[in-house]
Amino acid sequence: MYDQTPSDMPTTTRPANAGSSLNDNASRLDGPAKASGRAKYGRDMYLKDALYVGFVRCPYGAAVLKDANTDAAKSIPGVLEVDVPLGKEGKYHGHKMGEVVAESPLAVKRALRALKCTWEKKPVKTRITDTVTELPEPGEKTAEHFKSAELTLEAVYTTPVQPHSCLETHGGAVEWTDDKAIAYASTQGTSSVRDGIDKHLNRPQSEIEVVCEYIGGGFGSKLGGPGKELTSAATAASKYKRSAYMFDSRSEDQTDTGMRPSSQTLARIAFKKDGTILGGEIRTWGGTGVAGGGGGCNVPSGRYKLGVSKPRDGHKDVTHNGGGPMPARAPGWPQGAFAEELMVDEIAALCNMDPLVFKRKLASEDVYRDMLDMGAKMIGWENRKPNGSQTTAVRIGYGIGTASWHGTGPGGSAEVAIHPDGSVEARTGTQDPGTGTRTMAGIAAASALGVPLSVVTVRIGHSTLPKGPGSGGSQVTGQIAPTMMNAAEHAKEQLLAIVAKAAGATGDDATKGFDIKDGVITRNGKPHLEWKQACEKLPPEGITARNKGELDPGKGGNQGVQFVKLSVDTETGVVRPLHVVAIQSCGKVIFRKGAESQVIGSVIQGFSNALFERQVFDRNIGTVMNDNLEWYKILGPVDMPKIETVLWTHGQTGVRGIGEPPIVATSGAVACAIFNAVGRPVRDLPMTPDRILTAMASAPTGGAKS
């Protein structure tokens, strides 16, 4: 089944990735519904007679709520409840302080405005460097190496806070009826919502359904239970025995739904002129907002044999007046990779080495070397000019980034039902946050059953379905593909037994010689019965089969290499992304277009991280100035590079998710490409024109000892 022999690698004589997957041609099953607006998201659930909840939030980085005109808010028609805790201190912009419950969204807004809260502002910290004011002294060994080495590099790399910026904001709606409560959640964990919401609804779990058919983006921020929005809606629903709704506004989504923490990486590396690394140390800091932890920064990653490690106390999380983190697409990995890739390129440049040669040499696994060789050809690495050697106003840069990811453990459950009319249902309680899970699950069922995808209806995102995994850690495909295939195989066995019996075959091995291929039941390799005719023989209730036991997704890791080609206008600092080659492995590919889309989406998000994304806190009052999608910038259509994906199947076994791994590589590759073009490293994300112009005007750093 899923561990079948991988296809050959794509070549230039046939379309990229052809033959790489179980289904090369399938398009997203929910594409038409989403494109036409027929798909209803949680945010679309404006229920009859519903109540609406709004949050009173701290507008500053730190402030005490001194006064509020509660009477004015209560007097707004339709307002049922105003809860404002005077004297409470808000610790970040967006910090939830109180609540308003009203009959309409408009009444909520008018009540929040009528409060005219008075705040006493407090001093704020908005950056890691507000706390970490000086860098620690190098360790003894590092100091030794720095004394004797031919060349050294001491550099600080930083990345900013990046909110998840989901298109559908966070929240949920509760439909309250006498016999049950249905929670329409925008969640990455349908089952975790039910487990978290029962006590707020004050109803037994048997009377609670969680529905999450469609989600407009999550990136990790919609994991971990119902969230404060749905919790508040549930509480209001329970109290008033009415349906209730709470979804964040854009500003609320940008400030209080989790974020990718900021990071700072200090690298001190001693090396020889030939690139031999003698030693050194790497220290990291994570800016975690008000949360005390979760700011990891994964460097060194192990993808390169650097011979440099992080001391035991080498990572520190630092608080500031911002919202706390939530897992953000490969939490901690892109931050570390940005520092690591640029650092390695800086060492290569100081040694006058081609970074391709250097990274090939340092690579910890052969698969990286193979990927580097393939990508170099595809991007045209031979056209790369040495760092800083170009003299034209607009210069081309090439850069390399690498990615890895941990494997997948077993989990999840699934069910396949065959109806007497020949239609098939593939059921699992997981959800599809835009990743293609729905289609992947359908392909897994169809291919294991031997029928075309068109006869399969996929049921996901419902708490009454067999429990599925949360959409986190790139675990879902690794768990659901084998699980769904296993359920389908059991269903197939039952169907074939019925067909065999009808054909007069008896005994323990009655089904021997029977199989299903392309929707036709075969016997000894010859067509025996059409699918529909076979299903007519089923009992009225059809067949329902579950997976048996936990299915191991198989061993293996995800590896990736990305090549970026871009231009930098050295008079304006403007970067234009031109071309990206993204090579990624994920075991056996189930859904080709879906897997490619995950890689393409990662490249786009990674490029946005590299060039634009930054939560801007006012340094004095701590207010987020870009709590919108006007000033929180992401790559737009004109900025898109040509993106070529290669699904690397050579030597791959098992099946793994591909949602997170590819984003690890991108921002580092972009940093290396900018370094190549302008000859100076830009060590801070985002690499905006002002920073590029500043870096270009700076003196070269590191280098030979005097």
């Binding site: 405005r113 403007v574 634009f612 340094r619 009052i621 100035m625 259509p637 900025d639 002002d690």
Partner: protein
């Protein structure tokens, strides 16, 4: 968003009358509605009547007739012409390329399809302190310009404050260097509701050269333009400038506010520049004329890159950058130089494959 009345005047006179109608305390004009909706959503404006100008034409024009015309050496653009119509107008593309190029870079196609010529000029600044409901800045009656000690990367490098916005429109600097004039109308008499219908006789008209349309913050920080209460822009006129060009530096190439823009009109004597008019955008609270650069460009051949760069470098004289926007000192001369080359029909190739 608060409740408000939506008024649909048939003429500019009716619109003006509504602006001074004593039944309303906070009337606002709506062109395309782009900026207005932003204000309503953020709670920055709470009008009691929204006067919709979107379909209003000048008096006396036939329905369906073009809203951009040329006569007697002047080009006329009606106030409610969409930015897309300006960009696509053969008259504008041929006679005032600087305007077509500038508006082609404004916002997104969706916005340009509804945003209007007058609305583009009169939109409020995009300063994130002004736009944020939680910051009581000078523009909103507060006592502080938060940008001075705060996040001022996108703010002005010219001007003495006390407010440090940059002028937001892509079109005003183009009109500034093409002898642009804004024509405004206002209801001339005392308002009683029954009077509407005699609008033509009661209309007062005024022409404001673009150089006098906007004012610096020290001349009044709560507003950006010199229109009087009740005045409505009906149309804009300007002089053809076929040798003109525009260049913008933006972080993002899709739907972004520029970091710096330059507008140039040239007149040649053989290969040499006989006269030049240069205006910069996104660097000052108003469209920023640069007469010293105009002067420095005189007599220069655009081929002479050293001379051209020297002339453009004059542009930063008198600039007072803030903590985070000194990079604009590098952008400004480079942007002007590119615009000069475009105006001269010799654009620098900055696209690479």
């Amino acid at each position: 968003m608060n409740r408000f009345a939506l008024a649909q005047p048939r003429t500019f006179a009716e619109a003006s009358a509504l602006l001074t109608d004593k039944r309303y305390s906070l009337p606002v004009l709506k062109g395309g509605g782009i900026d207005l909706v932003d204000h309503l959503k953020e709670g920055l404006t709470e009008p009691d009547v929204v006067v919709n100008l979107r379909r209003v034409r000048m008096d006396g024009v036939a329905p369906g007739s073009p809203s951009i015309t040329e006569a007697n050496g002047k080009i006329q653009i009606e106030a409610e012409t969409t930015l897309t119509d300006i960009v696509n107008s053969p008259i504008i593309r041929e006679k005032i390329p600087v305007l077509a190029q500038a508006l082609e870079h404004a916002a997104s196609l969706q916005v340009r399809n509804v945003a209007t010529a007058a609305g583009n000029l009169l939109q409020r600044p995009r300063c994130w302190y002004y736009r944020h409901s939680q910051t009581e800045c000078l523009k909103k009656g507060g006592s502080t310009c938060f940008a001075v000690e705060g996040e001022n990367k996108y703010h002005a490098i010219f001007g003495d404050g006390p407010c440090h916005i940059v002028h937001p429109s892509n079109s005003a600097p183009a009109y500034m260097i093409c002898d642009g004039v804004a024509h405004v109308a206002s209801w001339g008499g005392e308002i009683t509701l029954g009077q509407i219908g005699n609008e033509r006789t009661m209309l007062a008209e005024r022409s404001i050269p673009f150089g006098e349309l906007f004012h610096m913050p020290d001349k009044g920080v709560r507003s950006e333009n010199n229109l009087k209460s009740g005045e409505v822009i009906t149309h804009i006129t300007c002089t053809p400038a076929p040798q003109s060009g525009f260049y913008a530096v933006k972080e993002k190439q899709s739907f972004d506010w520029p970091l710096c823009t330059a507008y140039v009109v040239l007149d040649f004597d053989g290969a040499k520049i006989k006269s030049a008019r240069v205006c910069a955008g996104a660097v000052a609270p108003i469209p920023w004329l640069l007469p010293k650069v105009d002067e420095a460009l005189k007599g220069i051949a655009v081929d002479d890159d050293a001379a051209l760069r020297k002339a453009c470098a004059v542009s930063t004289e008198g600039a007072k950058p803030m903590t985070d926007n000194a990079y604009k000192l590098k952008l400004l001369p480079a942007t002007i130089r590119r615009a000069v080359l475009i105006a001269a029909g010799r654009p620098e190739n900055t696209e690479v494959a």
